[in-house]
Amino acid sequence: MTDLFHTPLHQLHETLGAKMVPFAGYAMPVQYPMGVLQEHIHTRTKAGLFDVSHMGQVVIKGQDYAAVATALETLIPVDILGLGKDRQRYGFFTNEAGGILDDLMLANRGDHIFAVVNAACKAADIDYMKANLSGVTVTEIADRALLALQGPAAEAVLSALNPNAASMRFMDVVNLSLAGAECWISRSGYTGEDGYEISVPAAQAEALARELLAHADVAPVGLGARDSLRLEGGLCLYGHDIDTDSTPTQAALNWAIQKVRRSGGDRSGGFPGADVILAELTDGAARKRVGLLPEGRAPMREGVQLFAQIDDERPIGKITSGGFGPTVGAPIAMGYVPTAQSTIGTTIYGELRGKRLPLTVAQLPFTPANFKR
């Protein structure tokens, strides 16, 4: 793992006994001695601290917020102009075919937009914005770490360092001082739990992480549990559940496209693939991302082929994420099926080690979201 980038918390991960793995060019902790299952449950019951410094932090600046938002709306089909100051929103870059180039979080910081993009896509995203946006500057923030503190105890833990953390609502963004560090904090995350994402200067990241870990309710949590948490939360992982072959409607992400960008809206269209995406928003798509509950205990993972009937020759789709859901206590999965098979309660079949085993189309998320609205 000598060619891998290290995050500012690398030394701390090793001290904590993390098992490090390569991920998107970085050496990242997949688990700590507690193990994936317990780290997952700890996050759902207390609080987990995640190092997500591999993700891209990007500042996009222009003449004013409206100029930046208007420019970004040419690449992203969500309402960025109407995003309130110090509020955050989910979005994605689309391509001419209506597929998804990457998903991201966008925050209105008054005179600029602060974006968080996927690690594997960050170089491409930044080049893409630079090539396609005029009148704005796009700057990767490489000198800050990104921590996520997630779980029902997150508010109490962070409030102990700065009481202002408690008054934030879901998707609020503020600058707060934590353990002497000037942090950019959002009340959001990717686990389905209440919590915060904290951008902290690299030099102060380890001290802040140690301060948070000193709280009895906080345990370090690796990428393994991050994956099972987001899967239970019904959240898409780019490159797996969404990619350039999936459109927002197919991916069941219609909720992310506000009315103002849809047909009949004041700023309808004007983004790559608008013809496809607007038509699907109105008419539906031929296939849809759904939750799937395998019967029995055998997990069905990414790539498992799905069939409408137990003895059908042709698959109707495949699983894009799957595994064991520690909080659900059973195997869970997500995948794409034709709209005809996408109704909750439909039984379909997955081929596992040569056997066709039943799965039921299920409501997403698998565990109820626990956000502070």
Binding site: A298, P299, R301, R353
Partner: protein, 119 residues
């Protein structure tokens, strides 16, 4: 007790051999969430896949270390797969096999050799 390079352990119990995987293996695999066992009465040959283990991370196959007939499987693992993590060389055993050629056991490591192997 004998050990394979695939991290299985074999323990003679009268005329049958009990087979499981070592604590070293279960630690590497992580939390085990599913174990698929062979059917009792199946005749298996050495290196044939007989057990599938799913951990939170991935699926792994366990091969039969010797030729023989499966005479008993640990049905407790179906409901409590974590037994394999919690008590790898005891309650977490996988299957009992009646060897057709007990001398196949001889090629495997004893405990000291295995401990040196994983060190």
């Amino acid at each position: 007790m004998k050990f394979t390079e695939e991290h299985e352990w074999l323990r003679r119990e009268d005329d049958v051999v009990v087979v499981g995987i070592t604590e070293h293996a279960t630690t590497q695999l992580g939390d085990i969430v599913f174990v698929e066992l062979p059917e009792v009465g199946t005749t298996v040959t050495k290196d044939e896949e007989v057990v599938v283990i799913e951990s939170v991370k991935a699926a792994s196959d366990i091969m039969s270390p010797i030729d023989g007939e499966i005479v008993e499987v640990n049905t407790a693992l179906a409901d409590t797969p974590a037994l394999a993590n919690d008590d790898a060389i005891g309650a977490g055993w996988f299957f009992k096999i009646k060897p057709s050629d007990p001398s196949q056991m001889d090629e495997y490591m004893d405990e000291a050799a295995y401990n040196a192997f994983i060190a």
